[in-house]
């Protein structure tokens, strides 16, 4: 008696024709997502979490102020002193009258410093601010 080998006679290859496209897509994805930072953030910060948050709709109006651990303040691309905030912000307000200041402040910073910054902003007439927070889930 002869045994017949049972095997399906379908092809056993994975189609690889679209492989380059998939790879290109992945490449593009990673290329785009990794290099989209406008500023080099030189301070170390961790944002607080909150529930009742709003979105800032107009991204062009935003001016960021980072405050990180060790009370380092960064505006644009440089670390600044507290007394330098007012002239910088005043110039910014001249260019963009309804600028929104987005304060990206570390969780552990003392309120004293935050208030000092707010005082400087008030002097510069930058009155619309936004405490940047992440969504608490």
């Amino acid at each position: 008696m002869k045994f017949q080998k049972r095997r399906a006679n379908t092809k056993q290859e994975i189609p690889t024709a679209s492989m380059p496209d998939i790879v290109f897509m992945l490449l593009l994805f990673f290329m785009v997502t990794t290099t989209l930072r406008e500023y080099d953030v030189m301070v170390h910060y961790k944002l607080p979490e909150a529930k009742a948050i709003e979105k800032i709709e107009n991204k062009r109006l935003i001016q960021y102020v980072w405050v990180g651990a060790g009370n380092r303040i960064q505006i644009n691309d440089s670390i600044v002193k507290l007394s330098e905030i007012e002239p910088l912000m005043y110039a910014k307000r001249q260019a963009l009258p309804n600028v929104i200041i987005s304060l990206r402040i570390d969780k552990g910073v003392d309120m004293g410093l935050v208030t000092d910054i707010q005082q400087e902003l008030r002097k510069a007439y930058c009155l619309r601010i936004n405490y940047s927070t992440t969504l608490k889930i």
């Binding site: 496209d21 290109f24 897509m25 593009l28 994805f29 785009v32 997502t33 989209l36 607080p48 909150a50 529930k51 009742a52 948050i53 709003e54 979105k55 800032i56 991204k59 935003i62 929104i100 987005s102 304060l103 402040i105 570390d106 969780k107 552990g108 910073v109 003392d110 309120m111 004293g112 935050v114 208030t115 707010q118 005082q119 902003l121 008030r122 002097k123 007439y125 930058c126 009155l127 619309r128 601010i129 936004n130 405490y131 940047s132 927070t133 992440t134 969504l135 608490k136």
Partner: protein
Amino acid sequence: MIKKRKIAEATIPTSSMADIAFLLLLFFLVATTIDVDTGIGLVLPEYVKDVSTVEVPKNRMAAVLINANGDVLMDGKPISIYQVKDNLKPRIISKIDLPKNKKLIVSVKTDRKTKYNSYIQALDQIKSAYFEVRDEYSNQNYGRKYNDLPEDEQKVVQEKIPIIISIAEPEKVKQ
């Protein structure tokens, strides 16, 4: 007899068009604003040199004090930071029908050594209290949530329930 000339094929290969389109789509999807800026918005008062104090009747004020340890004192009573919302809501609701100059003012005062995080938590509680009251009011009067209302109706609700938060300057730490 004239021989018919064979026309060379002049088609552009279009089979990869879809892929190219997908790539472009993906590119734009990804490139447009990935991280949305979210946060708690606030408008600071204008800077004036000589601060003149205005007496505000006590029943208009809700004072939230936060000390350096993150303990909260609301109108003289020590409460947990997560109770601020529930304490505030009935007070906001009771003032909905009052005229503009009698609405509630929430005053937040911190110590210079208070951590920023506890301040944000308190602000968050106050904001959510206001948002919930606004939602409830909109639901009762318009049958929809505040965010789904058309702009003119939102204005009415905003006028009924304005968010007035006063940020008091922190006191110097007494030694």
